[in-house]
Every structure is written in C-alpha cells, then in structure tokens.
C-alpha cells in the first residue's frame, strides 16, 4: 500500500515519539530538512537517537535540538562541525557512535535494502574497528558493520509529486535518498509539490513507495544563512 499524505509540518511531526530513532538528511545544513527540525524544537518528543552525518552546526539545524537536550545518542561520521557535541559527550549527557562516512552511508543503504550488515575494508586496523568482527575474504581483511534503520526519517528533497515521488537538487541530495529507504515512516520536506506526470519517470530518484508524507519547506538555506521562504 502506498498513500502519501500532503500535510503540514506541525501535524506530521506528531509521528516522532519519545525514544525514537530518527534519521535526518543533510551534509551540515546543506540538504537538511530545516523546517521539520524547527518543528521538532516545539515538539515534546525527547530521548531521541539521531542518525545524521553531523549534528548540524552550533545552534543551527540539529544543533538547536542538541542544545534543548533532546538527544540521547548520535550516530554519524563528522561531529566536529558542531563543537558543542564534544561538550555534551564529555558531560556524559550524549552517547556517540562514530563511523567512517562510507560505512555510515552503506549501513543506511543496507538498512533500507533488507541487508543485515556487510563487510568493508574501511577502518580495518584502526581504533574504529575495536570490538568489531573481521573476516578474511580472498586474502584481504574486512570488517563487519551492521545495517542502520530508524523509526522516522526526515529528508529534504527539491520537488515531490502528490504521489510522493522525489527529485533532489545538486549536492543537497547527499544522505537523503538512502535515509528515505531505511525508516518505518518517511517525511519529505520539499520546495515544490507538483502533479503526477510533471516529473519525468527517468529523473525520479526516490519512488513514492518509500515516502509517507510530504510537506513544503518554510525555512531554506540561502547564501546569507537560514531564512524564512519569501
């Protein structure tokens, strides 16, 4: 069954519950679902595990939710872009799981594709391999990594049609298409919603069967930072 709801951020955010695991797209603020994140700042859900490459930037994007103490754990590859992450971690108020960016993205892809885990050469022999299973395949050592899945994914796309098919814009694509496959409930934030048929079937990156709800974005990233759409 595939019914995609065209809805409002304040309504659809109610699907996020305390204790949920949340995937959030974006490479820093680029391709980050800023409107949905803003809505989360006013939503009661807490104790969240967030799966996102970064925890936004200091006081921006997911960085606001960090300041509000809504995260129990963060899984990502590059938390350095928000200096406050280390402060929360050192104070014992945030668990961290650091993965190489390729392992992180492949784990999400696997999660959405029904694969339980995979073996990779990345990180073999490093501190990030500590405690992980290894296997020799054709004379080379590989490391086992488990797939990642989530309760809810917040993704940012460029356009959606009313069926929920998605296309993306430039490097704002990043982790969004894979996250859209790996969560039980997927909410897409887009610039524009069009009628079915207006997007060419060949250009659709995320087919609608992955998408549960679509909202129009209110907050956008501009040259001058995050702004309200005019």
């Amino acid at each position: 069954m595939s019914v995609t709801t065209i809805t409002k951020a304040e309504e659809v955010i109610q699907n996020v519950k305390t204790g949920d695991t949340l995937m959030v797209g974006g490479f820093g603020l680029i391709g980050s679902p800023l409107t949905l994140i803003d809505e989360l700042t006013r939503h009661e859900a807490a104790e969240l595990t967030v799966i996102s490459n970064n925890v936004g930037e200091t006081g921006k994007g997911l960085g606001i939710l960090l300041q509000q103490g809504k995260f129990k754990k963060a899984i990502g590859s590059y938390f350095t872009s928000n200096r406050e992450v280390a402060q929360w971690y050192n104070a014992g108020k945030l668990e961290l799981e650091l993965l190489p960016q390729g392992t992180f993205s492949e784990a999400i892809r696997a999660g959405g594709a029904g694969i339980g885990g995979f073996f990779t050469k990345t990180a073999v022999g490093t501190e990030l391999a500590n405690g992980k299973e290894t296997k020799d395949i054709d004379g080379e050592t590989y490391l086992f990594e488990k797939a990642l899945k989530a309760d809810v994914a917040l993704v940012r796309a460029w356009k959606a049609d009313t069926n929920g098919n998605l296309v993306y814009y430039k490097t704002a694509r990043n982790f969004n298409p894979i996250m859209a496959t790996a969560a039980k409930y997927v909410i897409a934030e887009v610039d524009e919603i069009v009628e079915p048929g207006e997007l060419s079937p060949e250009e659709i990156v995320t087919p609608h069967l992955y998408v549960d709800a679509v909202i129009t974005s209110r907050l956008i990233l501009t040259k001058d930072g995050v702004k309200e759409r005019e």
């Binding site: 391709g31 990345t122 990180a123 490093t126 430039k170 490097t171 704002a172 990043n174 982790f175 298409p177």
Partner: protein, 212 residues
C-alpha cells in the same frame, strides 16, 4: 608549491578526490577540462566558482562553495562511497598529521583531544587506487610529521604511495620510501634533520650531492 607539485603528478582524464586544506589548492593548478574532480558529498565534475555564481547548495566535502562542470553528475552518499571503496577513484590527495616509515597515515584524530569526526578519510585511503599525501614537512611546533611509527591513531593500514611536503617528495618503492626530489632550495641535510622516519635517497639525488 606543494599543491603545484601534486598537480604535476596527475595523469590527464584521471578521477581525483581532493581532501581539505592543501589538497583543495591542487585544483588551482589543474586544467579543469582534462581532469574529473570527485567530491564525496555527491558530485563528479567539481569546478571552481566565481563569487557571483555561488549556489549555497553546491559545495565540496569541506562545505566550501564549488561549481559544476559541463558533464557533471550528482549522486547520493552511498553511491559516492561505493565509487571510492570500489576502486573507481584514481587518486585521492589528502593531508596528514603524521605518516610513518611503513606508509601508514594518521589524519583524523589527535590523542587527548575529543575523537568526534572522521568523515571520509578512512574510506578514501582504503579505496582509492593511488594515495598522495600533501603536507608541511613539520608540525606547527617544528616536530617531524614523517616519523618512524605513527603515535597518532592511524587512518588505514593501507600505505600512501607518494608524500609531497614543502621540503621533499617521497615515493613508495618495494620496501620503503625513496626521496626522489627536493623542493625549492631544500637540501638533503635539511630533510634529514626534520625527519625521524627511515627512507633512502634516490641514486640520482645522491650523485648530485656527491658531485657538489
């Protein structure tokens, strides 16, 4: 100077991934029509961009604004790293905190500081066909970066093929690094004084030195 030397090492039509810092500067010395720059956040065909043409949604792995070449393509992060791990990227040029005699690179964490970011460094060293390290020869405090054995956490067990510093170029041979070229006015003695790694000097450089 380091970036220019790295650019000279690249074969036209190669697929190249540039890391943050000195590696980013390599693009300035490339004829951009003849090289394909890959960035792990999902673009093949990175170019430089003029201030007035900046699009905040087109960035490189360092989150700096870039442009897109004619014939460029965009893809998601899992595809981007499949290209890297799958050996489809010809050269990765990366910075380093330390490199050791065995060719192991440390470039993601400093002991005693919070280890909270790794990004794509481990995937790039594990997967690219050729690894070029570009770095200053010594750290800011003057201590050698090319050391006998890394004391910082290593990024991969896979070795770097070429090291380019402000003093010298080293190439990995069968069993260790060979100093193949001196940069600018650098001397063999200067390299020796600022290096704790073991390496040998190429026959050509030794002969030049003896001829003096």
């Amino acid at each position: 100077m380091i970036a220019k030397k790295a650019a000279e090492q690249l074969v036209p039509h190669s697929i190249i991934n540039l890391g943050i810092g000195i590696p980013t500067l390599v693009a300035n010395y490339l004829d951009q029509e003849n090289y394909y720059l890959h960035t792990e956040n999902g673009l093949l065909g990175v170019t430089s961009v003029e201030e007035e043409d900046i699009d905040p949604l087109i960035v490189n792995a360092g989150k700096l604004p870039v442009g897109e070449a004619i014939g460029a393509s965009y893809f998601h992060s899992a595809d981007s790293f499949a290209m890297i791990r799958g050996g489809h990227v010809d050269v990765a040029i990366l910075g380093a905190l330390q490199i050791d005699s065995q060719g192991r690179v440390a470039n993601w964490a400093i002991p005693g500081k919070d280890i909270i970011g790794v990004g794509g460094a481990m995937d790039l060293i594990a997967g690219a066909k050729k690894i070029i390290i570009t770095t200053n020869h010594t750290a800011k405090d003057g201590s050698p970066k090319f050391v006998e054995s890394c004391t910082y956490p290593i990024t991969s067990t896979r070795r770097a093929d070429t090291i380019i510093t402000d003093l010298a170029v080293f190439e990995w041979r069968d069993d260790g690094y060979e100093l193949t070229e001196l940069m600018g006015d650098a001397t063999l003695a200067e390299v020796k004084d600022n290096t704790t790694a073991s390496y040998r000097v190429s026959d050509m450089l030794s002969e030049k030195e003896n001829a003096k």
